[in-house]
Symmetry: D2
Subunit: 312 residues, 4 copies
Amino acid sequence: MALTDAQRAELEQARAARSETRRATVPALEAMLYQVMPVLDHGFVRVVDYMGDDGAVVQSARVSYGRGTKAANEDRGLIRYLMRHRHSTPFEMCEIKYHVKLPIFVARQWIRHRTANVNEYSARYSVMDREFYIPEPAQLAAQSSSNRQGRGDVLEGDEAAEVLRLLRDDASRNYDHYAWMLNEDDAGQVVDEGRSGLARELARMNLTLNTYTQWYWKTDLHNLLHFLSLRADSHAQYEIRVYAEAMLETVKAWVPLSYEAFADYRMGAVMMSSQMLAIVRRMLGGEEVTQVTSGLSKREWRELMEVLGRPA
Amino acid sequence: MALTDAQRAELEQARAARSETRRATVPALEAMLYQVMPVLDHGFVRVVDYMGDDGAVVQSARVSYGRGTKAANEDRGLIRYLMRHRHSTPFEMCEIKYHVKLPIFVARQWIRHRTANVNEYSARYSVMDREFYIPEPAQLAAQSSSNRQGRGDVLEGDEAAEVLRLLRDDASRNYDHYAWMLNEDDAGQVVDEGRSGLARELARMNLTLNTYTQWYWKTDLHNLLHFLSLRADSHAQYEIRVYAEAMLETVKAWVPLSYEAFADYRMGAVMMSSQMLAIVRRMLGGEEVTQVTSGLSKREWRELMEVLGRPA
Amino acid sequence: MALTDAQRAELEQARAARSETRRATVPALEAMLYQVMPVLDHGFVRVVDYMGDDGAVVQSARVSYGRGTKAANEDRGLIRYLMRHRHSTPFEMCEIKYHVKLPIFVARQWIRHRTANVNEYSARYSVMDREFYIPEPAQLAAQSSSNRQGRGDVLEGDEAAEVLRLLRDDASRNYDHYAWMLNEDDAGQVVDEGRSGLARELARMNLTLNTYTQWYWKTDLHNLLHFLSLRADSHAQYEIRVYAEAMLETVKAWVPLSYEAFADYRMGAVMMSSQMLAIVRRMLGGEEVTQVTSGLSKREWRELMEVLGRPA
Amino acid sequence: MALTDAQRAELEQARAARSETRRATVPALEAMLYQVMPVLDHGFVRVVDYMGDDGAVVQSARVSYGRGTKAANEDRGLIRYLMRHRHSTPFEMCEIKYHVKLPIFVARQWIRHRTANVNEYSARYSVMDREFYIPEPAQLAAQSSSNRQGRGDVLEGDEAAEVLRLLRDDASRNYDHYAWMLNEDDAGQVVDEGRSGLARELARMNLTLNTYTQWYWKTDLHNLLHFLSLRADSHAQYEIRVYAEAMLETVKAWVPLSYEAFADYRMGAVMMSSQMLAIVRRMLGGEEVTQVTSGLSKREWRELMEVLGRPA
């Protein structure tokens, strides 16, 4: 990721400013504010603003007049209780806003989470940057043979080299042609007076899906945690997971008690169906249960054994 | 509205605290933070937290790296442009949280606005306060004869007195019986050891709809303005309009440029149908148009004449 | 629940009508259409319209051109897979609309589910019916001593009788006064020419929270199942649970495969935290784990033992 | 747009099926069900399912027990009243589901409308079709000189030819390389046994933004009309406007009364600010108002004169 000098100066200026406020403030997150966290080869995540803290969760759960906090262990207990029993509305009382730079194909997955506010850089109105995502060789995986929606072994040798070359060349060439169609230089001046230049809203269609875009993305803590539980998960595509992982760090700094409860009751938790639970009970009762006697399909039996840390 | 000493102390303490922040801060709204704005006889609105300012609107419209603000008149022009052309997403980048005390029948109208986060005081879990809304005599209006959903003249004399007496007596008596059913005093202690006391979630059903409840209510600026355009309107019921009017004051302090654009392009604006517009054009062309020659229904003709400030 | 003759005739007429359609149609749900399912003493639920079936779930998961269904067991397997792995969007492709009559305090819980479309009978515009919810004696429970948000033993003898008397008398008296304030009879005619009558939007505040209201409520299958998982649960208040249970019957008739998957993976399922799972693994490994050696709080240990069907 | 024989057969079979239903049915829309409406060069829109009709709007506005319809002109008047006064909830009682094939850059605009249910064809799971949008020569417009977000004159001669050649070649070449990276043929069989093939979720990033995708998209009538008011508007990009126009035809067939009210009070309507309205009043009073004496900015004055059909 390469910020221009002007962008870097803007960021520095924003970081340098300080005000006094009566609002709940979180020093650990303040330290991260406007700080760019690099993700992938040219992307980033940075926190632009936030509202509330762990105290805001307990404050609204208690509908209190003041801060609403009590002894630290009581607040922690309440937050864990709320998370465990899926009382989600108190977590909606905190809000956070990110500025994110990400490849378009990642943006298309991300935008499926509807409960958020978004302002994306407009390719109808502005010219896109010349930046594309090219995977690290270690991320160049084959199609998984067992999972139609996943990755298998890493490509090697000539095939890997050829894939990287194609991705690079095609993105570059398409961007060059995009720029030619626009017929304007970086300063927005006409390049060739003999041509009209194609409308931006049309020329952009020549870009590849690994071109970077950027947006402001704002959501509440409850919906953010739901997003992270899906996108920081091992089933998520690597290219979105790395964004989720960077954001997890910001959550940890921002609302440490909520983060801890989330880690215990969401990220590390498993949902057991009524059938699975019945099998666990039989096993705890001393019965030797097999896939056949379990009544589960092979697939579900394998999932259960994995959860219980036993050979399938 | 009567705060207890404990509540007042909590508020004072919250107001006294100050922190340093890198976030956008609005001194005029800071001055209002935690301040109780009385509404109706026992209700209030107060701002508990906020995120963003007018600068956050232009920042996200420009998807900038830093604050994103330019010359003041350019920012104003951009905000007015966004409001006029209904580009709503930049206004979603600001967030505000209120604590509101309000009669239940008002809460039932308010909650219809779904794009908000709410935590209401729970009558399953806690005991409700002994506070009911009793209208001022000047608000004791008859049913409108022209509008099935509105108010007409103010009641007078014996009828007004009797209505007030009934509202007061019924709310009081029902609350007394609610308290009796609960069989617990203010400190949560059993009153009559010989009785079990009815569950709170059941006893509450004896309360009247003018009993006060309270909640934390949080939303973004775009949805707040939509709420205010409907509820600060002259067609809104008086008892919710006074809340909307108090909130308008907080918006004015918070985002003065957005407020001004909202006042011009929403609150003071009218929607003209294609038929109405055609009539205005005919009138501007010198034609004498009447209801009959207009082609409008009597009702729409009356609405149009009102908008144009002419006799129907 | 007492329908008027006019209402009954309207319903019969609606039920009698038949049309031919190309849309997916579910005979078992057609048989229930417009049928009133009584709930509580005067309430009801009835299905007014629906869109889609189990086939619509698989159709959209496969983004197919036609019906998209395959062999019955493949469709069943796909639906179970989607439910198990929380792929919720295919379940959003089915929609259902109910007409519900319910006490206001139940409506206030219900409306907290925001992802639905609602049209409620307007007490600003119309006169409310003279119907209140009075619990069956078996539902007249004391406050739970262990759970601040629940019910304990059933009230008995004089206390129960007195509670019922108060609920009945207060609701009746308040309604009588409401009617007096309105000063209009059932046909909307003025009763006492010497009085103006209070505006409906004001008079309604004298009603009690057990007064019945009604609404049209429409949502998609995913959000309906989420609602039912919370409200058909044993922790939900009895008065809303009975509505959820009636609606479960309609889901069972409408989308039997989705219903079965929901019953297995939601209603009968439990979420196990990372800590709980570690304990189950230790127990399966032969270790004798106690609350003390578990590291869980007493409350969580009790919850775990209950789930595993073992003495705490 | 080229359907395969298998797709065509699927569609025919779905269209041929007929069931009997008690639900509200709209013959004019039934005739369109499963029918493909071609849009752009390879795209389409088709109605897959629907729920409700104009009667459902009045039914829920009246919260009636049966169909709720009255005399046709009363229903029409009510629907126009609801639309004029922005009572949106009754229009939420109707639902419609489309299957849409559209270029990815159009899908990216479309998805910004969050209040809808979407299932998109997955490029992680499946192989994309070899279809790209190439504009008609008449749509090959230059960037507008007056509007940073719009189109100007149509490109001509060599420039036009070169743009078309580049769009075609780049999309084709990138797709060829995508297919090579996947290393599988149409039947999903490995092409070159000596290679692993890149995971689908990675290979797709080489595709251009004019590649076609497809989805099921479902929304309620209120949100559909909001979408159409923005996207069938002259300011919308041509490539999404043609989809909106096709959908307008389906709305006209489905809910003719709501459509008519929408055309009058939304599509053909204008919002006049308080300042604009004051100027119209002055003009109607005989005053000769100019931009200078109006107090409006040049831009707003031009907008007003356009609305009033007068020279600026």
